[in-house]
């Protein structure tokens, strides 16, 4: 019988000490309860420091695991953004129906509609808060640049942080405008003139929206380039780089003055 222990492998007689505790810690699985106490055996091998070594190993392993797990939270955001869109649709649909009903007759039922719509709006706020919270954690730089809402929508379209960091800035720039982009290409293939869209979701950003039309393309290109960098920092390091926001604000001021 062989026992996999966090500090090595035990064959019932001898312990083969692991060369890398973090590795053996992750492989310390056994199909059934051990017929001995792992800490007693461990103290024979590692001495009095047994618990300190165990604690250090557990901390190192779980610090890495938690980081990896948190990155998986990008899928959570993707699901939340999708849900948010559905909630919006439901709110719009119910509001329309409510108006239709009201137009014909004022009745008690309209109050029920109103309270349901109110509940949905509250749910919407909750989902938004959650998105904001998770985005601040998994994509602090993107959130800093364009806010949690836009950043989350971009992430949703990309599908995951992993895919997002592989997108070129030119793609990020038109994310969310795919439909008009394909239409334009289709027209061009048919030899017709077409306008290529210059911005997708990022158009929602005030730094683009508040510029004169002629300058929006430039700003969109700049912002997309910075977003691409921000996504990479978020994914690979996770620390906030203040200079990113500074640079887009400067560019915005420049374009506005020109």
């Amino acid at each position: 019988m062989k026992y996999n222990l966090w500090f090595g492998v035990y064959d019932g007689k001898e312990v083969k000490l692991s060369e890398n505790f973090e590795e053996s810690f992750l492989k310390a699985e056994n199909p059934s309860p051990l017929p001995f106490n792992v800490s007693e055996l461990g103290m024979q091998v590692l001495g009095e420091d047994y618990y300190q070594i165990l604690r250090k190993t557990a901390l190192q392993v779980s610090e890495k695991q938690v980081e990896r797990e948190l990155r998986r939270e990008d899928r959570y955001v993707v699901a939340l953004v999708k849900a948010l869109e559905e909630i919006d649709e439901a709110i719009n649909m119910l509001s329309e129906k409510l108006m239709d009903i009201k137009a014909v007759k004022e009745s008690d039922i309209t109050e029920s509609f109103e309270s349901k719509i109110g509940e949905l709006k509250e749910l919407r706020r909750e989902v938004e808060r959650e998105i904001e919270e998770v985005m601040r954690k998994i994509a602090p730089n993107m959130t800093e640049l364009v806010g949690a809402k836009i950043a989350a929508k971009i992430l949703e379209r990309a599908g995951s942080m992993e895919r997002l960091v592989r997108l070129p800035a030119s793609k990020i720039q038109v994310i969310g405008a795919e439909k008009s982009l394909y239409k334009a290409f289709a027209r061009m293939r048919r030899g017709k003139k077409a306008k290529i869209p210059k911005h997708g979701i990022i158009f929602l950003h005030p730094f683009i929206r508040t510029l004169p039309k002629s300058k929006r393309g430039k700003m969109a290109r700049f912002l997309a380039a910075k977003l691409a960098i921000a996504a990479k920092i978020d994914y690979f390091r996770g620390e906030v780089d203040e200079s990113l926001y500074e640079s887009i604000r400067k560019r915005y001021e420049e374009l506005r003055r020109k």
């Binding site: 309860p33 017929p35 106490n37 792992v38 618990y51 165990l54 604690r55 557990a58």
Partner: protein, 216 residues
């Protein structure tokens, strides 16, 4: 000031643990004590309702469902010469638990699924106490398998049961009855009770192992 358990006191009507550490979850800290908030910690509620655990301070504890470490932090004050293996599978609360584990030297944090005890069978030793607060439908099965892997002969168990997570449609009383019945098949019940007014529709069950001596 009245001592209720090792390192647990009632100080001017407030439950506290003796601690040399700072605040972990917003609880007040004063003169070497940390306020133990019963609305935040079910173990605190259980103690305030008059139930005690006999702890010497050097126990080995397996804690299932550690979350961000609210209760773990106080339990670590109590078993200050022991070790707590703190299992939690959600990364978000675990981050906070990690902060706690970095500060204390008697907490071993494990980001693992408590329903798979074999995965940590080569890490966790035989323990004196299993504490479980995981709010899962199959929490008793999870408890049983962990007890089989890790509970010493004569070891004790404390579990928190939330009626709604076992069965969201049945009456809480019915749920608790069936949970107690299941528990009696495997363990010796020491005591049980509600956590009102601190936690609605929750009970705690304090039990002990009933197994024959093993080789360890």
């Amino acid at each position: 000031m009245r001592e209720l358990m090792r390192n647990v006191y009632l100080k001017d009507g407030t439950l506290v643990t003796k601690s040399r550490y700072g605040s972990h979850y917003g609880e007040k800290v004063f003169g070497g004590f940390r306020e133990w908030i019963p609305w935040r910690s079910k173990l605190a509620a259980m103690i305030l309702k008059g139930h005690r655990l006999k702890l010497r301070g050097d126990e080995k504890v397996l804690y299932l469902g550690a979350a961000s470490g609210t209760t773990v932090s106080h339990l670590a004050d109590i078993v200050d010469e022991g070790v707590i293996y703190a299992v939690e599978y959600a990364a978000k609360p675990f981050e906070k638990l990690l902060e706690l584990a970095r500060e204390r030297n008697n907490i071993i944090p494990l980001l693992l699924d408590a329903s798979k005890p074999w995965k940590y069978s080569g890490i966790v030793e035989k323990v004196d106490l299993i504490y479980q607060d995981i709010a899962q439908k199959n929490q008793i099965e999870i408890l049983e398998s962990n007890a089989e892997f890790f509970l010493k002969k004569g070891g004790e168990i404390v579990i928190m049961v939330k009626a709604r997570s076992i069965d969201s449609t049945a009456e809480p009383e019915e749920v608790f009855e069936s949970v107690l019945k299941k528990m009696r098949e495997k363990f010796e019940i020491i005591s049980h009770g509600t956590l009102m007014p601190y936690h609605r529709d929750h009970i705690f069950i304090h039990a002990a192992s009933r197994r024959k001596a093993k080789t360890f």
